[in-house]
């Protein structure tokens, strides 16, 4: 029977191997969340517009992204970006671009639902007050849509954080990679993978508990 020994996970090892990976995973999550929500909102507005030349490309983009496995999307971008720009791009940078563009598709579906949850009368009221389309969206619809959808957006962000581990496919140095390298160097793979699972669980579980709390509070405001 195997003896588990976590003693090698000293503060030095943690700062040396794991902190670097954790920071990248968090960075990637935050960049993809912000970029994805901004781009996703634009896509959602395109899909809800009345002009078919805006609806079709947005719908095609969202549906394509949503039907390809994330690992394949990561591989696609890692292959295509250097071909298009003519320069090799690091795995980390490539991951940032990929996740932003990929998550935009998922965030756009959430924002679309959020925008549709606002009664049409409010848009009509905005126009009646002489507001332009941009003003109506910015001042009336989007703030409410965003607030209504905040729990869902955050839940998607937790999934996004879990998905960042898939940068494994292109060898970027993320949280899992940090644990894996530490495990190899100290010949303790079993312990490091267990520790990695524990860290991911703690982060995701506590975040989802926070989202639940937030959801209850938002429900009260409404």
């Amino acid at each position: 029977m195997l003896n588990l020994d976590f003693a090698f996970l000293t503060p030095e090892v943690i700062t040396g191997y794991i902190a670097k990976g954790l920071i990248f995973s968090l960075q990637l999550t935050v960049v993809a969340m912000i970029g994805g929500i901004v781009l996703g909102t634009v896509l959602a507005l395109m899909r809800l517009s009345s002009k078919s030349w805006l609806v079709m490309p947005a719908a095609a983009y969202v549906n394509t992204m949503r039907s390809i496995p994330l690992v394949m999307v990561i591989l696609w971008f890692f292959l295509l970006i250097p071909l298009l720009t003519g320069r090799p791009l690091g795995a980390e940078m490539s991951a940032m671009i990929t996740f932003t563009l990929f998550e935009a598709a998922y965030f756009s579906e959430i924002m679309r639902a959020g925008i549709q949850s606002i009664p049409k009368g409010q848009v009509a009221a905005g126009y009646a007050l002489g507001m332009t389309y941009g003003q109506t969206m910015r001042e009336i619809v989007l703030p409410q849509a965003f607030r209504n959808m905040l729990p869902v957006l955050l839940t998607q962000t937790i999934i996004l954080f879990q998905d960042t581990s898939l940068v494994y496919a292109i060898g970027a140095y993320d949280l899992l990679k940090g644990f894996e390298i530490a495990g190899k160097n100290f010949n303790r793979p079993v312990e490091t993978y267990l520790a990695a699972a524990a860290i991911y669980f703690i982060i995701c579980f506590s975040l989802s508990m926070l989202v639940k709390k937030l959801q209850q509070r938002i429900a009260i405001i409404r």
Partner: protein
């Protein structure tokens, strides 16, 4: 051998699939013969692995997901707690980490698992990961039924299991077919993560064939297309089932 500019956009070379995987020669009929394999042979076998992983995981996920989802709606607090703990555990660890745990860690901790082929370990990992999500849907489906249905069943003298079997589950499962459909398509997509433990499925094929041939775009396009086809086929099958089991007048037709 044609030496087209390697890796540039705009030049296609679909003949890459007819090449022998060892010699690199283009085979006349695209399929290898006499023990040789072409990239096309390899890709089709990888597709088979993807489909096998996905379908078997789906079975595991449906069995455990339904069981846990049902437990979470029983009046027994211990069972509810078990179902909740199961769901939170498998939902809050990334799939890749779970697959790595099943492959590298559990056989070291639980010796009987050492004899299992890695294919089965991945099926268990993907199946249990998805079971957490299916348990959410089953629970939501059961809870969406009017509470009176459960009470009516019990009042008629059904035991609790009978109430589930004859009253609650037949309706609950019909209600959750649409989310189960998208979960089944997710399982096809998620099976790609099995590349990490060297299951010879489509994504691993894509990575290795891309490296060997440098015809990444053609290979990725073909693989992406196969994922599309697989997910679409599953969607159609479940849509068909949804239509066949529909109770007239009770649930709005889900025509897409």
């Amino acid at each position: 051998m044609r030496n087209r500019s390697k890796g540039k956009l705009g030049t296609w070379d679909w003949q890459v699939f007819c090449k022998d995987t060892i010699e690199g020669e283009v085979m006349p009929r695209c399929f290898g013969s006499g023990g040789n394999t072409t990239y096309l042979d390899w890709m089709l076998s990888a597709w088979g692995w993807t489909i096998s992983v996905a379908l078997l995981s789906l079975v595991v996920a449906l069995v455990f997901g339904s069981l846990m989802g049902i437990l979470r709606t029983t009046p027994n607090r211990g069972l509810v707690l078990l179902g909740n703990a199961w769901t939170e555990l498998f939902r809050n660890i990334p799939l890749l980490v779970q697959i790595v745990l099943w492959y590298h860690v559990l056989p070291a901790l639980v010796p009987p698992l050492q004899g299992l082929p890695s294919f089965l370990l991945v099926v268990l990992a993907l199946g249990l990961f998805t079971s957490a999500r299916i348990s959410e849907q089953v629970r939501a489906g059961i809870q969406s039924l009017a509470h009176g249905q459960r009470m009516a069943g019990l009042a008629l003298g059904f035991t609790l299991p009978q109430t589930y079997r004859y009253v609650l589950l037949p309706m609950a499962f019909r209600i959750i077919i649409p989310p189960l459909t998208s979960e089944s398509m997710n399982i096809v997509k998620n099976s790609s993560v099995a590349f990490a433990v060297s299951i010879a499925e489509l994504t691993l094929f894509a990575m290795q064939a891309q490296e060997e041939t440098s015809r990444g775009i053609e290979i990725y396009l073909a693989v992406t297309g196969l994922y599309f086809i697989t997910a679409f086929a599953i969607n159609r099958v479940l849509h068909f089932i949804e239509g066949r089991v529909r109770v007239p007048g009770l649930i709005a037709a889900g025509d897409k």
